[in-house]
Symmetry: C2
Subunit: 147 residues, 2 copies
């Protein structure tokens, strides 16, 4: 029963550690801007325009009750705002304020810079390999999740 392990010796461990590195970057950058990691993640998701609560919950992997609180705190800091949806008077879409956009760009840029700085050491072949493998994994996990 060690065959699977033999064929991927420590590969999973490496993935976990990589995730940890990314997480660390996110945490550090967020902190530098007086944000919590979750708040930073939220802002980055909102940077392309307003998003509904449903989408947000799915993308952040949060229960709706958790999301309400997160939005509350971000709204209280004047970084985002709830905009009621015209078609459905229950629903609301979350959009960034001016200050929110500024912070979102700053944190997104900070994270990108630091990760690109790491990725810069990869040679083009490794870059491509990483890209294609990650894309495949993501497609895979997205396909598996809706279960």
């Amino acid at each position: 029963m060690a065959e699977a392990t033999r064929s991927e010796p420590g590969g999973v461990e490496a993935l976990v550690r990589l995730a940890h590195v990314v997480d660390r970057v996110f945490t550090d950058v967020a902190r530098r801007h007086e944000l919590t990691p979750q708040q930073a993640r939220l802002l980055c998701l909102l940077v392309d325009g307003p998003v509904g609560m449903g989408d947000l919950g799915r993308r952040l992997n949060l229960e709706k009750s958790s999301l309400t609180g997160l939005i509350d705190r971000v709204e209280r800091r004047g970084l985002a705002a709830r905009n009621r949806d015209g078609h459905d008077r229950r629903a609301c879409r979350i959009g960034l304020t001016e200050e929110g956009v500024r912070l979102a760009h700053e944190t997104h840029g900070g994270v990108t810079d630091r990760l690109e700085h790491l990725a810069a050491e990869l040679d083009p072949a490794q870059r491509d390999g990483l890209r294609s493998a990650v894309d495949r994994l993501l497609a895979e996990s997205e396909a598996a999740e809706p279960s």
Copy 2:
């Protein structure tokens, strides 16, 4: 100054999303065993034998005061125990109880299974590409961190 962005279109995004997938797996598996993600991470770190608080804080990226609480809760559940160090009466080493070992193996196995199940869909070239890229990134980040 958009050159760097042009040369890595979305590559960083892929990394972030990959981290998110790994995180999700960890959260799900932990929950299945009545653990929080952080508690699961802790158990996995302790599986190779007792570790001192200093090391733990560094590896989990936690402040010591945060670590105290985490250990408290895990100890209260009977999964780990503080063992005082013989050489330094201030220090203590955290070790797993029998039940802790059991849970640690279960969660570690669960995470590994699910990630390997994902990775199994990659063809060998992608696997190798991912491996080498991730190893490189980890080496890079470890070299950069001690700053």
